[in-house]
């Protein structure tokens, strides 16, 4: 497993170090931070973010994105409330919500892979669409009184460990194994780093991406179910804005927004760091607005920092190997001139 060790070096290790450092400092400075009760709360807070971050990581690794996840969560919650209100049993409602999420994901996937539209544009569209549908389904009502056994299990714990930890851990292991130790995972990185090379290697780019969106929709719907049970309240506006936290956590975890690079272990660190920072600030009575500011700043830092680190590293590497190797950027001679964009009108217009 030396391979695994290697993956922990670099950005992942840095994030984990920052996380540990932050937890120690916050434990000393912020009262009530380092308590078992607070730790359970933190798990409950980070559960939906971590859950959605798992498929989101896979999607971002392929160079795409899904911004509709929070709206899928909201629509799932609204449908859950409407059906529960209509007298359906919870054992039927939950599978229906998961299938609904898969369908919503499939719609995203179809637009992106079938029609070749940019995922950013498509999922901004469905972000609005799915949230709108949630309000169509439930209006601004709130449905409560879900079965106690379910809600208690979601917020409960046994032997001091929150119940939610176990399913989260299982899903983390499943997604981590898929991403880092299967042919599918390898092909996700390949299509993220070079979509042409992936196609020329026989990787089914469109099909794979489509199914990623399906899975992402189903997982977001599952997050909606958990959210509803946790607060025992189904509302159309549940989870509004959560997609930002998810994307911030994934990028903070060292996944490249351009695709092709990242680890799920880094993302776990990113999610926990984000949750710890927000939790500590909240305990320190910092306002919700300030929390938003911090999330935004972390998002920017998470995009800047890996690039800065990478730039520094390659600058150092360049200095080390002088003279540079035969420049790989130089095109071999027989390229047709027409493919050379250099003398474009944009250049000429000076």
């Amino acid at each position: 497993m030396s391979d695994l060790m290697k993956r922990f070096t670099g950005w992942d290790a840095a994030i984990l170090a920052v996380l540990v450092l932050f937890v120690i400092v916050a434990g000393l400075v912020v009262p009530d931070f380092a308590t078992g009760r607070n730790a359970s709360f933190m798990v409950l807070d980070l559960a939906p973010v971590l859950l959605i971050a798992l498929p989101m990581t896979l999607i971002i690794v392929t160079g795409e994105i899904d911004l509709s996840v929070a709206s899928t969560l909201g629509l799932s919650s609204a449908v859950m409330g409407a059906l529960w209100d209509g007298g359906m049993s919870i054992e039927v409602i939950i599978p229906i919500c998961l299938v609904l999420g898969a369908v919503l994901g499939a719609v995203n996937g179809l637009f992106i892979t079938g029609f070749g539209l940019p995922s950013l544009a498509v999922t901004i569209g469905t972000l609005a669409l799915y949230r709108g549908l949630a309000f169509v389904v439930l209006g601004d009502r709130a449905v409560a009184q879900f079965p106690g056994s379910y809600t208690e299990w979601v917020i409960g714990s046994s032997a001091g460990i929150p119940n939610l930890v176990w399913p989260l851990l299982v899903l983390l292991l499943v997604f981590g194994t898929v991403l880092h130790a299967t042919p599918l995972g390898r092909s996700l990185f390949t299509m993220g780093a070079g979509v042409d090379a992936a196609r020329f290697s026989g990787i089914r780019v469109a099909r794979t991406k489509f199914w990623l969106y399906v899975v992402c929709g189903a997982v977001a719907a599952l997050a909606g179910v958990l959210w509803t049970l946790r607060y025992s309240s189904a509302r159309a506006d549940n989870g509004t804005g959560l997609e930002l936290a998810v994307v911030a956590a994934v990028l903070l975890g060292g996944v490249s927004i351009f695709g092709g690079r990242g680890t799920l272990w880094g993302v776990l660190g990113g999610v926990m760091l984000l949750a710890a920072v927000q939790n500590a600030l909240r305990l320190a009575d910092v306002s919700n607005e300030a929390l938003q500011v911090v999330t935004g700043l972390l998002l920017i830092v998470s995009v800047l920092a890996p690039n800065a680190v990478g730039a520094i590293r390659s600058a150092v590497a360049r200095r080390r190997r002088r003279p540079p190797p035969p420049a790989p950027a130089a095109p071999p001679e027989p390229l047709p001139v027409s493919s050379d964009p250099s003398p474009s009108p944009a250049v000429r217009s000076s």
């Binding site: 290697k6 194994t177 130790a181 299967t182 042919p183 390898r186 092909s187 990185f189 390949t190 780093a193 070079g194 042409d196 090379a197 992936a198 196609r199 020329f200 290697s201 026989g202 990787i203 089914r204 092709g260 690079r261 190797p325 035969p326 420049a327 790989p328 130089a330 095109p331 071999p332 001679e333 027989p334 390229l335 047709p336 001139v337 027409s338 050379d340 964009p341 250099s342 003398p343 474009s344 009108p345 250049v347 000429r348 217009s349 000076s350």
Partner: protein, 499 residues
């Protein structure tokens, strides 16, 4: 010619890494002449053009205008010195009008810095009258034919008083009538005192239009002569003439059964009705000029490009269209033309690249653990004598030749029955070229059916059992090894009728 030439290329040389694209080339370009520049693909013509356009700077040597040395640091410099380059596919702003494209960057102004659209239109209209063409200056550039776009580019060059006009394969995408009109424009420019450098693969165009011809081969200047002093046969001979040496260790191999059968393959606007067969142990070359549709055909065979009609059979079984995975399962491997985009993920490691075609077969119980990838990558890179520091290094760090070996390792590790190689030795050094050729020969000996797309005639002639020649999307000739020579292939590729 004693007078100072308008433009002189004086002993220029240019290398890209280890590849010398142009070495010590000199020729003059006089006012009032149309000068042809010819050579095989890879002879260095494009590099000369890019030096004149200010895109590349010569490593050594100079470019002189009126006897004065030029420092062309950018395309803008070339334009301000009066050197204009018309490309095969012009790059106009599609949403601006024709007139706006022509005056781009130096718009006539009215008061308060407003653009004087009327003056711009008038200017454009005057230029079109001078060129004897009818294009509406007010219409948007979007939707203009390639030929009209080229005329607009020429008008733009004229508006900047260009005296040297370089046309880089301008006729490749033009119809017969459009070519005639372009020639009329070129002649009027010449008669107006401009110097034209005309690059084309079509000899009938060169003989119809040009006054003198400069021939290049392997990055060197071969000759510059008046066109009426030298025939087409002699031009072809000088372009390709060189001995085939040990670079091409082709062995005679007993030929087996038909492995690959392509029948009536078509794709609208790209290629039509292409049929051929390849037998086990055979090396079949697909020759032709750049743009003849060769890469598109092999990519359609592999399934990575679409096709409109036709069938591909491997070992008698019809292959599903549009599925590289089905092609791979049937035993086809494609080493693509563009190594850096299609062949490799440059930022990924050597190991990842070398194994990317066989993760599914390397996995145990669906998992890639226990170093199977590492062993496979180490084995195949070693077989191909790839030089690298560590398998974890990004493949971008390797030289072109070693990168190509990684691509070959990636595909040979799938044990293909049909190996398609597209420009297998482009941009790699001579030593590695010979290694790749030996490898292809060995594979043929082992019974692999090989299709080799190549623009390098010596490679085609040295390696192939049969040569298929494509021109403008059609398979126009099949030439047996015994009949294949520079001239027969070149004639078929350029559409010259045999003399």
């Amino acid at each position: 010619m004693d007078q100072v030439p308008l433009l002189a290329v004086a002993s220029v040389a240019k290398s890209f890494g280890a590849v010398a694209a142009v070495r010590d080339v000199s020729f003059p370009l006089h006012a009032g002449e149309i000068h042809a520049l010819v050579g095989e693909n890879g002879a260095g013509k494009s590099t000369i053009v890019k030096m004149l356009a200010g895109v590349h700077r010569p490593d050594t040597g100079r470019i002189l205008l009126d006897g004065r040395p030029l420092e062309l640091a950018s395309p803008a410099d070339a334009i301000s010195e009066g050197i204009a380059v018309i490309y095969q596919e012009p790059t106009l702003f599609p949403d601006l009008s024709v007139a706006e494209n022509i005056v781009m960057g130096r718009q006539p102004r009215r008061s308060l810095g407003r653009v004087d659209h009327r003056a711009a239109s008038r200017l454009a209209a005057d230029l079109f009258v001078r060129l004897g063409v009818a294009i509406d200056p007010g219409r948007p550039a979007r939707g203009l034919s390639i030929a009209d776009q080229q005329i607009v580019e020429i008008a733009k060059a004229l508006s900047r008083e260009a005296r040297v006009i370089v046309m880089d394969e301008p006729t490749a995408a033009l119809s017969g009538v459009e070519v005639e009109r372009l020639f009329a424009v070129a002649r009027s420019l010449r008669d107006g005192g401009a110097a034209l450098l005309f690059i084309s693969h079509r000899f009938e165009e060169i003989t119809a239009l040009c006054d003198r011809v400069t021939i290049m081969r392997d990055g060197r200047h071969v000759s510059t002569d008046p066109l009426d002093a030298i025939g087409v046969d002699e031009i072809v001979r000088r372009m390709v003439g060189r001995p085939l040496d040990t670079l091409f260790p082709k062995r005679e191999v007993p030929v087996g059964d038909v492995v690959l059968e392509v029948e009536g393959l078509s794709r609208a606007g790209v290629f039509r009705d292409v049929s051929f067969q390849v037998r086990a142990g055979e090396i079949v070359a697909l020759a032709g000029l750049v743009g003849a549709g060769r890469s598109e055909v092999v990519q359609a065979v592999f399934g990575v490009d679409p096709r409109d009609g036709g069938t591909v059979r491997v070992g008698g079984t019809v292959l599903r269209a549009g599925s590289p995975r089905a092609a791979m399962a049937a035993g086809i491997a494609l080493v693509p033309e563009d190594r850096r985009q299609q062949g490799l993920v440059l930022e990924a490691s050597i190991e990842r690249n070398a194994t990317s075609t066989r993760w599914r077969s390397l996995a145990r119980f669906g998992l890639l653990v226990g170093g199977a990838e590492r062993r496979s990558a180490a084995e195949w890179t070693a077989r191909l004598q790839t030089k690298y520091a560590r398998l974890d290094d990004p493949v971008a760090r390797l030289s072109g030749g070693n990168q190509q070996k990684v691509v070959l390792a990636k595909w040979l590790s799938t044990a293909p029955r049909v190996l398609i190689v597209d420009e297998p030795t482009r941009g790699i050094d001579v030593g590695t070229k010979a290694e790749v050729h030996r490898l292809l020969s060995d594979l043929a000996t082992d019974g692999v059916a090989i299709v080799m797309v190549s623009s390098e005639l010596p490679e085609v002639l040295g390696m192939a059992d049969r040569v298929l020649v494509m021109r403008e999307g059609h398979l126009v000739a099949e030439i047996a090894r015994s009949d294949a020579n520079e001239e027969s292939v070149m004639r078929a590729a350029t559409g010259q009728v045999a003399a």
